[in-house]
């Protein structure tokens, strides 16, 4: 069955949703954990239904009870938690009332589950084929050669190349994406009627994420299973789900078809997480003055290489990157993991010493500054890191954390520093009572705001934001993006926003540069790059990204072929274009000619001679 046929089938089954049989019906499910003598109920009165062949998305913040609920559906709870009440009706039987042996037979056979972190879910001691075989054997009579053939068939079905060889690999020999697919193969081997997928793509790269979800969707269309897809990503909901459930404080607060959910969310929580989608950046006020802005920070031919241990080889992490960021402007730096975007951010602040090239900030080449002068400059250039849990000293109070930059760069009295700390905490919309707490126990959103407050302490002119929203839950993410935009408007700061999340980049950035293997392959305004990407890599990246737009679903359209193969090793880079081995537009000349950034008709600069010559077919981004 092709994707389009499957989509048609899906659509036809949606016409009469009421006639579709209910596979799973949850009523008033309660799960409790005893904590200090009290019962905390992460799942408290959960009720919903999943129908045959339906893809149901379950979204909610961290701590809303998503994973606890997923386990409880199988009649499980992490010790010392207990299922306190309710009904989980599957195929007409209440799972919570079944004897252990019967419910075990249902788990894995009739209800498959895929959890986060694929590699730790595979047994490192068993070959992949064996593991899939065992999963199948647990519920079906089969033996030896049959099992192996079944495992290979399953691997082929989930889109793994060369399944015979992969069946004999161990978990550590698979990439994250492949491991995740092996898990789907295992979960689907006995054709379950329901597949529960708990954030199956967290930690995967954008392109792999989309491929994986495509595979899951396709496979399920073939086997006729229903999916309960637990996620924190609006993009995943919009592109793959038929219906959306919003979990908030252990309860379903909204249950709507996907288009209706995005068009007209009812619950305040849903409205909050969809705020940016609904406003579409218009009220964020990203307009820049006519005629451009004065450059604040410029890099020229920035290079960073790392020596590979025990060899004479080097890794080219950043290759001749030239950027320019104007005052009050945000430049987005996007690319997959390993593209060198984080290294660029570190090099700008000399947290890593660039191998060569210059970083000119306000007329001064930072690379040439002696360490003491560089330290003084640090009040003007700041950075906010990806992991908020890790970037604050766990032993210090928030007050001391916020005062540290003032200790280093100002002569304020203790009282003035205190006052400044209070100003800062107000500035990022946090409560002043937090000042005397330590970071422990605060949520990711609050911690990331504290990181931002600390970066702002000495009135910097430029901040590197290194994936600041990637570990945040949907609501905290929206709040942080709004905060960043507001701060920029009020304080006139410039940002370098490093991210793999194109949706956020689109809201937050004025310009965007796309990186691949340490090089910038395309740079232009957000409008230019998002609506008319010219470089084949940008096109691939954009087409793989899951934009939260249910009217333009990935599963409903023909997707241009994804890039073939894997990213080449940054140790032995090709002579010509780095993308040549994977590019659908490759010609012989690409393999031998090093590429340079050239302006193209649409306004941006592109590192692809064929795009510069207008030889690459236009691609409709249609998302800007």
């Amino acid at each position: 069955m092709t994707r389009l046929e499957a989509a048609a089938l899906q659509a036809s089954s949606m016409i009469e949703p009421t006639t579709a049989r209910t596979v799973l019906s949850v009523e008033n499910l309660v799960v409790g954990y005893p904590v200090d003598g009290r019962m905390i109920k992460p799942v408290d009165g959960l009720s919903f239904k999943v129908r045959e062949r339906e893809v149901v998305g379950l979204i909610g913040d961290a701590g809303s009870g998503k994973s606890t609920a997923a386990l409880a559906l199988l009649g499980l709870a992490r010790a010392p938690g207990k299922i306190l009440g309710g009904k989980v009706e599957f195929d007409g039987r209440d799972l919570l009332k079944l004897p252990d042996a019967e419910i075990r037979a249902i788990r894995g056979r009739d209800i498959g589950i895929i959890v986060q972190n694929p590699r730790s879910s595979l047994n490192p001691m068993l070959r992949i084929g064996k593991q899939i075989g065992y999963a199948y054997q647990a519920h079906n009579a089969a033996s030896g050669q049959q099992l192996r053939r079944k495992a290979i068939d399953m691997l082929r079905m989930v889109g793994i190349n060369d399944p015979e060889r992969r069946a004999d690999s161990y978990a550590h020999e698979l990439s994250g994406g492949m491991a995740q697919r092996a898990l789907i193969a295992m979960a689907l081997s006995s054709k379950p009627k329901l597949l529960i997928a708990d954030e199956p793509t967290s930690g995967l790269d954008v392109t792999i994420q989309a491929q994986f979800l495509d595979e899951m969707w396709n496979t399920v269309q073939q086997t006729g299973s229903a999916i309960l897809l637990i996620t924190q990503e609006l993009g995943t909901l919009a592109n793959y789900c038929d219906r959306v459930l919003v979990l908030h404080e252990g309860r379903i607060v909204e249950d709507a078809p996907v288009r209706e959910f995005f068009a007209n969310p009812q619950h305040p929580y849903s409205q909050q997480i969809l705020k940016l989608q609904r406003e579409r950046g218009s009220s964020l006020g990203l307009e820049l003055p006519e005629g451009g802005v004065k450059p604040l920070l410029q890099t020229r031919d920035l290079r960073k290489t790392f020596a590979v241990q025990h060899t004479k080889k080097t890794i080219q992490a950043v290759d001749k990157v030239s950027l320019s960021i104007g005052r009050g402007e945000t430049l987005g730096l996007v690319g997959e993991s390993g593209s060198g975007k984080t290294t660029v951010g570190r090099c700008l602040l000399r947290l890593l010493e660039p191998t060569s090239g210059s970083v000119v900030f306000d007329g001064e080449d930072l690379v040439k500054l002696p360490p003491n002068d560089m330290r003084r400059y640090r009040s003007k250039l700041q950075i906010v890191f990806q992991d908020p849990f890790d970037s604050l000293n766990p032993r210090w109070t928030i007050r001391r954390i916020l005062c540290e930059p003032l200790d280093l760069h100002s002569n304020l009295s203790a009282a003035d520093k205190n006052k400044r700390a209070e100003e800062l905490i107000d500035l990022v919309d946090l409560d002043r009572t937090l000042l005397d707490r330590k970071p422990r126990g605060l949520g990711a959103g609050a911690l990331q705001r504290i990181n931002i407050a600390r970066a702002l302490a000495c009135n910097p002119e430029f901040i590197v934001l290194d994936e600041p929203t990637s570990v945040l839950s949907p609501r905290a993410r929206v709040g942080l993006i709004e905060l960043l935009v507001r701060l920029q408007k009020e304080l006139g700061i410039s940002y370098l926003f490093i991210s793999h999340d194109l949706t956020t980049v689109r809201y937050l950035c004025h310009k965007v540069s796309v990186m691949y293997l340490g090089q910038i392959v395309e740079t232009g305004t957000v409008e230019q790059v998002f609506s008319r990407p010219q470089h084949p890599y940008s096109q691939a990246l954009l087409s793989a990204h899951l934009f939260p737009d249910p009217t333009n679903r990935r599963v409903d359209k023909v997707i241009p072929a994804a890039l073939e193969g894997e990213i080449p090793s940054p140790i032995d880079l090709p002579i010509g274009c780095y993308l040549a081995s994977r590019c659908p537009h490759v010609v012989e000349a690409c393999r031998s000619t090093p590429q340079t950034l050239e302006p193209v008709d649409t306004g941006q600069e592109v590192r692809c001679w064929r795009a510069a010559a207008g030889e690459i077919t236009a691609f409709k981004g249609a998302h800007a």
């Binding site: 904590v35 701590g63 606890t68 992490r78 003084r376 890191f385 970037s391 000293n393």
Partner: protein, 300 residues
């Protein structure tokens, strides 16, 4: 991460058992520390003076209540020898409670010294990894490859039997443990985000190492210290036992066991067994406390 409700290991262990052990360890440690302060003064006899009553056995269990009331009412001409006396006429009980002054002080000072030195060297070795610090680690490996007891004995034998030399020897043999623990923790802490953030804020490397990395790297060494104190007491006693420790008549458990050992064959078990029990309880107390601390640390 959506599993905010996943509970830490500590919640999964029966809470009462952990607290019971922690309480027991803490009680033993408090008693030993208190005895180190007042022990030599509260015993019924002077722990360093002999009495004419040689090899008096301890009172039998049935005699204890009667003796006790007689002692309280003051009708005895001399205080009873609760644990008997040894072959030289020392009162075993007075010496057992006076000994922590020697054992604990040696163990504490030696431990303190090795903790300070070890943490300092560990910080340097973990923060600045170069040929010099790698060389230091290899030297410490060599030191650790000798049994602690043998190294300490050789050092004391070379330097002479004095309390100072015992302290120095103990400090020397325990330092590598702290170096290694601290170094490992420093290496994992120095790559954390808040360290890079501190650098981005304009701290000097020295200030990052001392203000950010060091305080976050102390816990393993401090937990180890609690366990090591117990073993240092054992080692101090062991050195005395083989004749490389403090000199008689200093009240010291190992020495007491050693001098009493000759009498065991005659059935006079009390001069050795009581100090032996005292050592066992003390080491147990510190070890349990250390374990409890470690579990709490792991849980957090």
């Amino acid at each position: 991460m959506s599993s905010q409700h996943a509970l830490s290991q500590s919640d999964l262990l029966p809470r009462r058992r952990r607290d019971w052990l922690f309480g027991l360890g803490l009680t033993i440690v408090i008693i030993v520390v208190a005895l180190a302060v007042v022990g030599p003064y509260i015993g019924p006899y002077d722990p360093t003076l002999t009495t004419p009553n040689v090899s008096v056995p301890p009172p039998s269990l049935s005699e204890i209540p009667g003796l006790f009331s007689a002692w309280i009412s003051g009708t005895l001409e001399a205080p009873p020898n609760w644990m008997g006396t040894d072959a030289s006429g020392f009162d075993v009980f007075s010496r057992v409670i006076a000994a922590p002054r020697t054992d604990l002080v040696i163990a504490l000072v030696a431990n303190g010294l090795s903790l300070l030195l070890g943490v300092f060297l560990g910080l340097i070795a973990g923060y600045y990894r170069n040929t010099a610090t790698e060389l230091m680690m290899r030297v410490s490996d060599v030191m650790q490859s000798f049994p602690v007891f043998i190294s300490a004995m050789v050092l004391v034998a070379l330097a002479g039997r004095s309390t100072t030399n015992i302290v120095i020897a103990l400090a020397f043999v325990y330092t590598p443990i702290y170096v290694r623990l601290t170094r490992a923790e420093v290496m994992s802490q120095k790559v954390r985000g808040f360290v890079e953030a501190a650098r981005a804020l304009g701290n000097t490397e020295l200030s990052i190492a001392i203000r950010h990395v060091l305080p976050n790297s102390l816990t393993p060494a401090l937990i180890q210290a609690s366990v090591t104190i117990g073993f240092a007491i054992l080692l101090t006693a062991g050195l005395s036992f083989v004749g490389a420790g403090v000199r008689p008549p200093t009240p010291e458990w190992g020495l007491m066991i050693s001098t009493g050992a000759n009498q065991i064959i005659l059935g006079e078990w009390w001069p050795s067994v009581f100090p032996g029990i005292a050592i066992s309880l003390t080491v147990f107390g510190f070890a349990v406390l250390g374990n409890a601390l470690e579990r709490r640390y792991d849980a957090s």
